[in-house]
């Protein structure tokens, strides 16, 4: 089976502007490989093609890409998902972030927002216990669906609010992590965390369109977490 790929190419040292380049790849009939495997085969054809990858099993979050218009991880997206409608398989970098080269984007803005929400336990200056820092099973259960985020940026780069205001709106990924620490029974900085988010942009630029939910490769629900943050902000203000 012969597949055609249309891949975004841009090398700022050589190209004046980005272009789409076509590639074809022979895939054995009846087999189904992942998009990342196909990209690795295409890189054998054309070694100048640049993309990020590491664990190749959906754990590290390095190979977030836009495939046929939808963000996802190349390593856990089967080619059969993209060939259902026929036609070319279109692969672009994650939208909204500056392109370093080809499919590699500069994630600085995304990480800055992650850093801003202080993604670590704050315990009022008290030393955490030397051994386990215990929680009840109920308290621990509140972190399910929050701690699994791998920071692949698929959600934040699918969010128009993050496209327009990446410097002011924290974005779905950062807010999911913010709620992960707001919901943690061991964290004592709830008030300070909420005060840092209490403006017109950081949280409230989320209008709940749920693009983040539809693309999250880990099946998480940032919109729900953002709803919880909004309700915590409301409760301390009303």
């Amino acid at each position: 089976m012969k597949l055609t790929f249309s891949i975004y190419r841009y090398n700022p040292d050589v190209d004046n502007k980005p272009k789409m380049q076509d590639y074809s790849l022979e895939v054995a009939e009846g087999s189904d490989i992942m998009v990342l495997d196909a990209l690795i085969l295409l890189k054998e054809q054309d070694p100048t093609l640049a993309f990020r990858r590491s664990c190749r099993e959906g754990v590290c979050g390095s190979d977030g890409l836009n495939m046929n218009g939808k963000n996802g991880l190349a390593c856990i997206t089967p080619l059969s998902d993209l060939t259902k409608k026929g036609g070319k398989i279109v692969i672009r970098p994650l939208p909204g972030l500056p392109v370093v080269r080809d499919l590699v984007v500069d994630m600085s803005q995304f990480y800055k927002q992650y850093e801003r929400i202080k993604p670590y336990l704050i315990t009022d200056g008290a030393q955490p216990p030397a051994g386990e820092f215990k929680q009840s099973p109920e308290e621990r259960a509140k972190l399910d669906g929050l701690y699994e985020c791998i920071l692949c940026a698929c959600c934040s780069t699918a969010c128009p609010s993050f496209w327009w205001n990446p410097d002011k709106f924290v974005g779905p990924s950062g807010l999911l992590q913010a709620y992960r620490f707001l919901a943690d029974s061991r964290d004592t900085a709830t008030e300070e965390r909420l005060a840092d988010l209490d403006d017109a942009f950081s949280v409230f630029r989320c209008h709940g369109i749920m693009n983040c939910v539809s693309v999250c490769p880990k099946g998480l629900n940032p919109t729900k977490a953002i709803g919880h943050i909004k309700s915590m902000l409301l409760q301390r203000s009303v």
């Binding site: 128009p160 609010s161 327009w164 205001n165 002011k168 005060a195 840092d196 988010l197 209490d198 403006d199 017109a200 942009f201 950081s202 949280v203 409230f204 630029r205 909004k230 902000l233 409301l234 203000s237 009303v238």
Partner: protein
Amino acid sequence: MVMQAATLGRNGVQDFILLRCSAIILALYAIFIVGFLALTPELTYQSWAGFFGHIGTKVFSFVALIAFLAHAWIGLWQVLTDYVKPAGMRGMLQFLLNVVILAYVGFGIFALWGV
């Protein structure tokens, strides 16, 4: 934290509450007007004038106009801060649009006053 002086509320929570409350008022007002249109067998000048001459309709329409003012002010500020990046142009556009909103509210109030 990001400070914004040009929106209506003093912070994100206040904008959020104002938007939701004004949306509820506008939805109820829309149902009220559609209800009147549906339940009036024949629409004449007299039925319109009688409906809008009623003190309840006047007060509700006034409240809806104020809700519209808040809703449009905040909503347009949100749209402009998304799509218009140069601060000078955004400030000017917001000024012009807010004047238009105020003019609509003024027009509505004087129209109610006249019935």
